[in-house]
């Protein structure tokens, strides 16, 4: 057994288009091994099969409020509130399933398909505004952020006019350098906002996701405002920052690989497949799917004991040659759907089919309507989010 820790985590990417360079060595030489964290240590699990095993086994807990859950930021564990209500993402069975199923009806493939025309309209409006504005423009602010924000705001029934308020707070919560007290304060501020909004909706529940939840849960006799506040908050935060980062990064990847872009332009039937490949290729949420072992289990030949933390390296798994041929190549024609970019198991992304649709519509529309789109700066000068738990771009200067 390895008892010393060779590597420190979280580990920054040195190339925006590849995982941290040590991932390959870890995956090939010590696929389940110990790493140092700011305040302790944890196991990393790096092979595709092992990552899936961990994320779909009840012996691993998602309880982010537990004092022993692996902390990626120094001092974060001390700011946890084990007595507080958990967000969906931090719940375990048997609490997690019913909470998730309460909202799943809003995210079925069929329900989302009905939103497609409206999402297309939102994308078209943003591109109209982009084309009417000055060159160069920042694509993050012109398209990547507003599209998913507008969509999730409309779904939830959150006034888009307030988007700057929660967008700034979201960026703060995902930045690793944000001190734990400030992160808590930022979350508290979004929570207060959501609580006021929901209190107002309780009076006369509108026909939006939050309003429908109030009606449905009241009818079942299970309505609690605090639980809906948590759900609303999670959907709002999870629903825009992630997709925005994927829009920005994929745009850069398409512009650097014109032959790949040509494939989706030639046949939009390829776009959904390209979306899967971009998700795999960038794996923007990497170590964020951490878990706490609650019962001894062997993973990839290594015994993991109850009480020990695990980081599932999604980016190592998504570049595992056992699961993907030529994994470091961007190939929009490959079948990449078994990637773990949305996680795996009971917590696999609830908004994944919404994200897929948004990305598909953006790729199809952006490159068709702005065929001469190009980067306005060198790739090396782009501000990548090397310091955030969710990878992406702070700004993306483009011209056409």
């Amino acid at each position: 057994m390895t008892t010393t820790e060779k590597h420190e985590f979280p580990m920054a990417r040195t190339c925006p288009f590849a995982p941290p360079s040590a991932y390959e060595q870890i995956r090939e030489e010590e696929p389940v091994s110990r790493v140092r964290l700011p305040d302790g240590w944890a196991w990393v699990v790096s092979r595709h099969e092992d990552v899936r095993t961990v994320l779909n086994d009840r012996r691993f807990s998602a309880d982010r409020q537990h004092p022993d859950f692996p902390a990626l930021v120094k001092g974060e564990a001390a700011s946890r509130r084990p007595d507080e209500e958990r967000l969906l993402i931090a719940m375990d069975a048997p609490e997690h399933g019913p909470a998730r199923r309460a909202v799943l009806g809003e995210f079925t493939v069929r329900r989302l398909e009905a939103l497609r025309p409206r999402i297309q309209e939102i994308v078209d409006e943003r591109i109209d505004a982009l084309l009417a504005g000055p060159r160069p423009a920042d694509l993050v602010n012109a398209l990547s952020l507003p599209v998913p924000s507008l969509v999730i705001c409309e779904m939830l029934g959150v006034p888009y006019a307030d988007h700057e308020f929660f967008q700034d707070l979201t960026v703060k919560t995902f930045r690793q350098s944000t001190p734990p007290e400030e992160r808590m304060a930022a979350m508290g501020a979004i929570q207060g906002y959501m609580a006021d909004l929901i209190a107002e909706k309780e009076q006369n529940p509108p026909d939006d996701l939050l309003g429908r939840q109030i009606v449905k849960l009241r009818a079942e006799g299970t309505y609690r405002r605090s639980a809906l506040v948590g759900m609303g908050l999670l959907l709002l935060v999870a629903g825009h920052e992630t997709t925005a980062n994927m829009i920005s990064l994929s745009t850069v990847a398409f512009l650097r690989n014109p032959e790949q872009l040509a494939l989706i332009k030639a046949d939009p039937g390829n776009t959904l497949n390209a979306v899967e490949e971009m998700l795999r290729y960038f794996t923007i949420i990497d170590v964020a799917s951490a878990r706490l072992c609650v019962e001894d289990i062997e993973v990839g030949g290594q015994l993991i004991r109850a009480g020990e933390g695990v980081l599932t390296l999604g980016h190592a798994a998504n570049r595992d040659p056992r699961a993907f041929e030529n994994p470091d190549e961007l190939d929009v024609e490959r079948s990449a759907r078994h990637h773990v970019a949305f996680g795996f198991g009971p917590h696999q992304c609830l908004g994944q089919n919404l994200a897929r649709m948004e990305l598909q519509i953006v790729f199809d529309t952006l490159f068709r309507r702005v065929p001469t789109l190009e980067l306005a700066v060198d790739v090396d000068d782009l501000p990548f989010k090397d310091d955030a738990n969710i990878y992406g771009l702070y700004r993306l200067p483009v011209t056409w």
């Binding site: 779909n56 199923r101 995210f107 079925t108 493939v109 069929r110 759907r337 078994h338 696999q348 994944q352």
Partner: protein, 64 residues
Amino acid sequence: MKIIADTGKCVGAGQCVLTEPALFDQDEDDGTIIVLNEAPEGELVDKAREAVLVCPGQVLSLEE
């Protein structure tokens, strides 16, 4: 071939529906799986295999 679905493990991600809407649907209330066609034939056999591979709850299996 027969599709076996351990529906209690379904996490409602809809990856199966996305794979082949002719074989799978989701409950409109809680998003969990509904198998529309348990005995796929021809091209649908490959789709069933793909659904087994991508399902995040490891809900699906095939009886050959």
